[in-house]
């Protein structure tokens, strides 16, 4: 049995856990004081040695990313924290910042010191006002306590932190779109290279890291590389938040070492809702190919999930039981990608439009057998041909669901309707009769 390892989540149940006083009482900002006495290059090496990999989805080694910054030329370099969390199913950074914003602020201070940054930014999505309040307050409290500002704890190191609210656009989670947005522009991805490490915010060397990545840094400094690397698997080290949602008895945040399995997590979460059986699930958000009960024992680390044909992504485990129509689920995700496509490149902009048309036809029972092939062909024109990973992600659930549940798509065609009772999937009782006139999402997402 893999055990849970509360690190980031350890103080979430404490009285006013979001306050500076509460965080300090639990030992908070001790790691910052320790870090300020360590050579910068040694800190970068420490994070490299820990094996910490980016928690924002792609899993890029964090210390290596920091090491890519060119040598200091005396001009500004930046840290930008990606707190845009908008990938469907992903719900770890928002509760983290709500309950314990200071662990992020401390991580920002240590990371900034390590990379030689004197002005860091936290870009948080705009649709979570209370989280934004807590961040604004945490940063103010940290200034007041001398954890930010000029000559932090007498070290000579200065740091300003700006907490910036976005305004509703999933694409701004893509790191270069985020930088454009932070510069006051439309959030559209930039051509890479140059990578942000070379020319990022204001064309200066920039590290973009996910909230959870940065928040993991203080404990590494405090407890050491061996402690962190002692958790997880050979190449996927450390702890991570696993977010269970959907048809499970106790959905929520489960912090475990990487490599835990869904079978283990489900057991801790009280099993499937009402003892029903598992039908399909996403290992890392809606952009990752879906899994079934066959993958209950796949270790949830980067390599194992990859080898099984999906991606660990953001560890957003959305769990769907036997009552769920996979065509309905996939159609709704695809509408999301269509809505969020930034329009910069044709395969994604046009492709997600056509995918939505075909899927809605199929879901309503008006599709044909040829539509299923058309769906796959259209995915083919998008995946690998789009400017950024949003386009690829849009095809993941489609391709994998057709592979795993083709007969369910065909049933929609042959029966001329959706064979599922949507009311059976809901958490509350209602009669299916009232659910026949589903909203036309066409205008909704226009």
């Amino acid at each position: 049995m893999t055990e849970l390892v509360p690190v980031l989540s350890a103080n979430w149940d404490q009285e006013q856990s979001w306050k500076h006083a509460s965080y300090v009482k639990g030992g908070g900002y001790g790691a910052l004081k320790k870090a300020l006495g360590i050579d910068k290059a040694d800190l970068v090496q420490m994070v490299k040695d820990s094996g910490l990999r980016g928690r924002g989805g792609a899993g890029f080694p964090t210390g290596m990313k920091w090491g890519f910054l060119p040598p200091d030329d005396g001009k500004p370099r930046y840290l930008v924290v990606n707190a845009d969390e908008s990938e469907p199913g992903t719900c770890k950074d928002i509760p983290l910042m709500m309950a314990n914003p200071h662990v992020l602020v401390e991580g920002v201070a240590i990371t900034s010191y390590a990379i030689g940054c004197n002005h860091a930014f936290i870009y948080v999505r705009g649709e979570v006002v209370h989280v934004y309040r807590r961040l604004l307050q945490a940063v103010r409290e940290a200034y007041e306590a001398g954890d930010l500002g000029k000559n932090i704890h007498g070290s000579g190191f200065d740091l300003d932190v700006t907490v910036h609210a976005g305004a509703g656009a999933y694409i701004c989670g893509e790191e270069t779109a985020l930088l454009d947005s932070l510069e006051g522009r439309r959030g559209q991805p930039r051509l890479k290279p140059p990578f942000p490490a070379v020319a990022g915010l204001y064309a200066r060397p920039t590290v973009v890291n996910n909230v959870e990545s940065v928040a993991s840094v203080p404990a590494i400094v405090e407890r050491g590389v061996e402690w962190f690397a002692g958790m997880g698997t050979e190449r996927s080290k450390g702890h991570g938040l696993f977010s269970l949602s959907g048809h499970v008895e106790k959905p929520g945040q489960y912090e475990a070492s990487l490599g835990i399995t869904l079978r283990e997590l489900l057991e801790m979460a009280g099993g499937m809702r009402g003892g029903k059986s598992l039908k399909f699930w996403t290992p890392g958000g809606s952009s990752t190919p879906i899994f079934t009960e066959e993958h209950l024992d796949t270790p949830l680390d980067y390599e194992s999930v990859g080898a099984a044909g999906s991606m660990l992504g953001t560890r957003a485990l959305q769990i769907f039981d036997e009552t769920t129509c996979v065509v309905r689920a996939v159609t709704r995700w695809t509408e999301f990608y269509k809505h969020e496509s930034c329009g910069k490149c044709t395969p994604c902009r046009e492709g997600t439009f056509w995918l939505t048309q075909i899927l809605k036809r199929l879901e309503a029972g008006n599709g044909t057998e040829a539509d299923i092939q058309q769906l796959l062909d259209t995915c083919d024109s998008i995946a690998g041909r789009s400017f950024c990973a949003l386009g690829d992600g849009a095809t993941s659930s489609i391709i994998s669901s057709v592979k795993l549940f083709r007969e369910e798509y065909e049933r929609h065609v042959t029966e001329g309707k959706c064979p599922f009772d949507h009311a059976a999937s809901a958490l509350f009782d209602y009669t299916a009769a009232s659910s026949t006139s589903e909203p036309t999402t066409e205008e909704a997402h226009a």
């Binding site: 350890a10 990938e87 309040r133 604004l136 609210a165 959905p251």
Partner: protein, 220 residues
Amino acid sequence: MTYDESTLTQLTADAEQIVSRYPVPRSALLPMLHLVQSVDGFVSPDGIAFCADQLGLTSAEVSAVATFYTQYKRRPNGEYQVGVCTNTLCAVMGGDEIWKRVSERVGVGHDETTADGKISLERLECNAACDFAPVMMINWEFFDNMTPESALSVVNDILDGKPVKPSRGPDAVPTFKEVSRVLAGFEDGRADEGVGAGEPTLAGLKVAKDQGWTAEGGAK
């Protein structure tokens, strides 16, 4: 611009403060658009002109940015922005039914506002609260684990002019204009209201405590 003198003075002072947070003034544009919404209730032509003027941009440049982001409203918005998540997870868990009932009750559809200006309705995309599904957001405050009944009762309270309290958030939902001011980066003194974590947020921590699992010596 048609702002009266005191409004313009306040706006200008606020804008200066926003600009001072960034090394390059243009970065202030997104928060300034939130600021404009806090005064006008939407991104008004006046607001666009004001942002352009302050940042040395053209109105066209400001408009191009404003239209990219869904939180910026092009028409006068309701006092309460009511959003029901209908992305896959919430939809399946009951969000579609909640949306339908709420929309019937309020009498408007997606991206529409009631005649009295009380409520603007929206079908939301994922709001990072999937473990609390089905989710409703009012002025971007969390209403967790909704049912049609609980959602309608909140909406009825709004229509009756009563304050409503989110599951995780301040003691009462502020108005659209008030939250827009927070999003412009101005604290409203409500950060300490409400809980730190909802029950699902603590689910794993509770299991770990019950089992006596800690991260002290690393994992087993």
